[in-house]
């Protein structure tokens, strides 16, 4: 037989042994997708057989994305053109009543900005994701997300009938739709963060949006410390003063990453984070 279907034994493993974490990894699914990619039938994304890169795709502007980011993998988000905004929200996929808690995240780390070394805490004292790498230095956790009324007020009304898929989407409706696909609703959407955007606060508490915070090629990497349902939306930041609804794409890539060691920068940022990692490890015992 000269069939072109490769034999399984010739497929290079996607994960180098030994397994890098305790969480189950859907190797079978990845292998099937890798085989499909070799046959040229994978059209929605790219599967890499090289290094630790498992998957990448482009998320266009004004769009919503979700994925269950497995413990032992990391999601890198790269600003393709500069001035992207990525609203983000996180839940424990195994028990979504446990979700990102913004006040706990800010209080534990004594910060009102997010950058490398920070972690995203759940309401249960555990770490959903860590910011392992970041070339921006300031991501906005306080200004929240756009909604339909805000987008219409700033950019005018669009309908699907008139604008087809160029209609102006908003982050709140995008998140609510995406949560709906996992059986959740408005009660499950709590405070969110905005990657790549910056809002400063003066001594009197006044908030000011800072333009041009992110350059082309800027990136942030989120390492999953739990199996985390990650929701992203690329609508403009609600305080962005650009009169145009700018469509800013980002690149998403998922990588296999090592288990954090004792000297991990996120774990050692502050004693609070170290305790968060202990509680997260306890969850997986």
């Amino acid at each position: 037989m000269s069939a072109a279907v490769p034999r399984l034994s010739k497929i290079r493993p996607l994960v180098d042994a030994p397994a890098l974490c305790g969480a189950p990894i859907p190797i079978g699914n990845l292998l099937r997708r890798a085989l499909a990619a070799r046959r040229g039938s994978c059209t929605t994304g790219e599967i890499s057989m090289e290094s630790s890169l498992l998957y990448s795709e482009i998320l266009p502007g004004g769009a919503t994305w979700s994925h269950v980011l497995k413990r032992g993998t990391a999601l890198r988000i790269t600003d393709r053109e500069g001035n992207a905004n990525v609203a983000a929200y996180f839940l424990n996929f195994e028990n979504p009543s446990e979700r990102f808690n913004l006040p706990d995240t800010l209080k534990a780390q004594h910060t009102a900005r997010l950058r490398a070394g920070n972690v995203l805490f759940s309401d249960m004292g555990r770490v959903l994701c860590s910011i392992t790498e970041d070339s921006v230095g300031w991501h906005d956790p306080i200004a929240g997300i756009s909604n339909a009324a805000l987008i219409e007020k700033k950019y005018g009304k669009t309908t699907y009938q008139q604008a087809r898929n160029g209609w102006y989407q908003n982050a709140r409706d995008g998140f609510l739709l995406e949560l709906g696909k996992y059986g959740m609703g408005p009660r499950d959407l709590h405070a969110t963060v905005n990657f790549f955007s910056k809002v400063v606060v003066d001594e009197d508490g006044n908030m000011q949006y800072v333009r041009n915070n992110s350059q082309e090629g800027s990136y942030i990497e989120l390492r999953a410390e739990m199996n985390t349902l990650v929701l992203l939306n690329t609508s403009p930041h609600p305080l962005n003063d650009d009169p145009e609804y700018a469509l800013k794409p980002v690149e998403l890539s998922i990588n296999r990453v090592p288990t954090p060691m004792r000297n991990d920068r996120c774990r050692t940022l502050c004693p609070e984070n170290a305790r968060g990692f202990v509680l997260t490890e306890l969850y997986f015992l």
């Binding site: 209080k107 004594h110 909604n147 009324a149 009660r187 499950d188 606060v201 508490g205 305080l239 609070e272």
Partner: protein, 219 residues
């Protein structure tokens, strides 16, 4: 220098419809009708009053700290602040304030966050999110932990610095200071009078607060 403007109220306590005392560590759940005004009095000073508001007709529509602070372009609440819901409704407006600023970002303490912030042994200390959960369970309208969302910390001082630091400072409140809000729609108020002993938010001495309610058209 920070600027605070204090706005006393003309409402007389003797004209109030109801008066309640909420002890530290207790929860307190009450419906407030559109047009009614209520006052929270920090009886002994430096007492954080963690409070969540819901649209009384649709509990999935609730106070949103992020929408509220973004739309008023300021992270603190004081007289004139309009509290917005997740659906963009005006829930309440702050009509008087003798404290000057109230926190929107610090959230509520919890057994789990106390473990992270202070020590793993703090799990067994009383905390606001336990009070919230108990209050919602006793209210018995199907609400649970998913409904414990953004809260206001009345009388609490959590400054953010221009370089993005967040700190817990001694309260700016004092004995007898109060804040007053008028309901722009029927709302459900859920209070946890904070039992936190690990930081200065209650001056290391949690104390009772008073809630006074006046009927509509009292102004």
């Amino acid at each position: 220098m920070q600027t605070t403007i204090l706005t006393p109220s003309s409402l007389k306590p003797e004209a109030a419809l109801h008066s309640y005392i909420v002890e530290a560590g207790d929860s307190f759940v009450l419906e407030i009708a559109k047009g009614q005004t209520f006052r929270i009095v920090d009886l002994e000073g430096n007492q954080a009053v963690d409070t969540i508001f819901y649209n009384a007709r649709d509990y999935s529509d609730r106070y949103s700290a992020q929408d509220t602070i973004r739309e008023q372009s300021n992270i603190y609440l004081t007289t004139g602040s309009r509290l917005l819901s997740t659906n963009g409704n005006a829930l309440l407006t702050v009509t008087a304030d003798t404290c000057g600023r109230h926190d929107t970002l610090g959230g509520a303490c919890a057994a789990e966050s106390n473990m992270v912030r202070y020590d793993l042994t703090k799990r067994y200390m009383h905390a606001c999110r336990n009070s919230f959960l108990k209050g919602l369970q006793l209210w018995d309208r199907g609400m649970d932990k998913r409904d414990i969302t953004s809260n206001i910390n009345f009388f609490m001082n959590v400054p953010v610095t221009p370089d993005g630091q967040l700190t817990f400072e001694d309260g700016v409140s004092d004995a007898g200071k109060y804040v007053e809000l008028c309901a722009d729609m029927d709302v459900l108020m859920v209070i946890s009078n904070c039992p936190q002993l690990n930081n200065p938010c209650n001056g290391y001495n949690p104390t009772p607060v008073q809630i006074l309610i006046w009927d509509k058209n009292v102004h």
